[in-house]
């Protein structure tokens, strides 16, 4: 079973299921339902694959990548439309298209498209199609919607999803407003903790990515880069994601001569605070082990409210590392990087 199969839904197809004047709106030349202009094909090095028909799904998804149960989504980016009235109308068109062309007569399941601009109208749409057996969930683009999707404004949407037995599937994307909304989202959090949990993470993942893709560790091989106050659990994720993406898109970072993980292990350092708190301490041990004794530095962040006392990290280090390696994390790495003899 595959939970994320994207249809390619041409706007003229959606228009066939829309009423006037919205159908005409879709043919207006300045309407962009899809892309802000990024180039996913690297100038045509790879083709942009499409799934336009049920036959495409049969042949490519079921046939070539051996998926028995595809769960498809229309992948129409209604949440970015400026005219919310149009977005609300088009959610019905998208879902009717999905049912008519893909679900009713084929052995697929699908996720409902909703416009997040008007959560009450999204809820009405879920009530309208909620008893369709082939609709098994709600597709929500998590990058574009404002305010962020936990805001009480959306409660009515969640209520309708729950009433209809439909799980929510969140999907991040570059093309759904990341370029515009990323800085704005942070202004719309209601509680400090929402901003605080994300601020360090977003800033540091962005900085790690930016320094890597621009080749900072290759340009300045003797320069050490130390990341403070985002903890360490994000590091393995980024390390492995950068390995993957920069092998696929090497031509966008041609200066790099090693895998990102190698640069991270050579030039990047990560201060441990705020050490995350998994329910199973074994998981934190795994995390510390993955980032590694040569890349970790203790930090307390004292006197801030979320400071770490050294005993917490030390407890892990004692059970994980030799006394020498424990010493590296508690003082040796920082001593070398900052050039402080001890």
């Amino acid at each position: 079973m595959d939970t994320d199969i994207h249809l390619t839904t041409p706007t003229d197809q959606i228009a066939q299921y829309a009423d006037k004047p919205y159908a005409d709106y879709l043919s207006a030349e300045d309407v962009q339902l899809k892309s802000p202009g990024w180039d996913p094909t690297m100038g045509g090095k790879i083709e942009e694959r499409t799934l336009l028909t049920p036959e495409d799904i049969e042949e490519e998804v079921k046939g070539e990548i051996h998926i028995d149960y595809p769960i498809v989504n229309a992948f129409v980016n209604l949440s970015r439309l400026s005219q919310s009235e149009t977005a609300v109308h088009l959610q019905r068109a998208c879902n009717d298209l999905l049912l008519d062309q893909f679900l009713d007569d084929h052995d697929f399941h699908g996720l409902a498209t909703v416009a997040t601009q008007k959560p009450d109208k999204a809820a009405e749409e879920l009530d309208r199609i909620g008893d369709e057996d082939k609709i098994v969930g709600v597709f929500l683009t998590s990058t574009g919607p404002r305010p962020p999707l936990g805001d009480p404004e959306y409660d009515i949407l969640y209520q309708a999803a729950e009433d209809n037995g439909l799980p929510i599937a969140y999907h991040g994307a570059t093309n759904s407003g990341f370029d515009i909304e990323f800085p704005i989202h942070s202004q719309e959090f209601e509680k400090f903790v929402e901003a605080h949990v994300n601020a360090h993470l977003w800033s540091q993942t962005m900085t790690l990515t930016s320094t890597m893709v621009n080749g900072i560790p290759e340009k300045f091989p003797d320069l050490d880069l130390v990341f403070l106050e985002a903890g360490i659990s994000w590091v393995p994720y980024m390390m492995f994601r950068l390995n993957k993406e920069l092998s696929m898109r090497r031509s966008e970072a041609p200066l790099l001569e090693k895998q990102p993980e190698e640069y991270i292990r050579d030039s990047y350092y990560f201060a441990t605070q705020p050490l995350g708190e998994p329910m199973d301490p074994e998981h934190m041990k795994t995390m510390i082990d993955m980032v590694g004794k040569d890349s970790l530095m203790f930090a307390s962040d004292y006197p801030h409210w979320d400071f770490d006392h050294p005993t917490e990290l030390n407890g892990y280090l004692r059970s994980l590392f030799s006394p020498e390696d424990r010493e590296r994390v508690l003082s040796g790495n920082a001593s070398e990087v900052f050039g402080i003899g001890i």
Binding site: K45, E47, G215, K219, S247, M248, L255
Partner: protein, 121 residues
């Protein structure tokens, strides 16, 4: 090793390719600058049909530490094979992956004999 005649050599013009079925395997045979190169049509990344991808150049880059000048140049036009699934780049002559990792397309000896293309498997 068994020799397999797969085509007449002049069936492939320079810069072009054929995909042949040999002993149940798909083998891409490329002609480039008068030489022939044969690779398994199987990307070491996730198994995509690498030999069916576009042939292009790629970006190479140099950085001058003193002037801080970064130069990015499009190079090797016609010598870079791009896997159609994820864009992994391979040197069309050696099959080596251009990303900094120890991967390459599996290669096979290929030669011409009496005007015919012969692949050893």
């Amino acid at each position: 090793m068994t020799e397999h005649v797969v085509a007449d050599a002049d069936e492939i013009s320079d810069g072009e390719r054929i995909i042949a079925q040999i002993e149940g395997r798909e083998i891409g045979i490329f002609r480039k600058d008068g030489e022939y190169h044969a690779f398994l049509n199987w990307c070491p990344h996730q198994g995509g049909p690498a030999c069916e991808g576009t042939i292009s150049g790629t970006n190479e880059s140099t950085f001058d530490r003193d002037s801080l000048e970064l130069e990015v140049c499009w190079e090797n036009e016609g010598n870079v094979l791009n896997c159609p699934w994820h864009g992994w780049e391979f040197d069309l002559k050696s099959g080596d992956c251009l990303a900094p990792r120890d991967d390459q397309l599996p290669t096979y000896p290929v030669k011409t004999r009496d005007g015919e293309l012969v692949v050893e498997l």
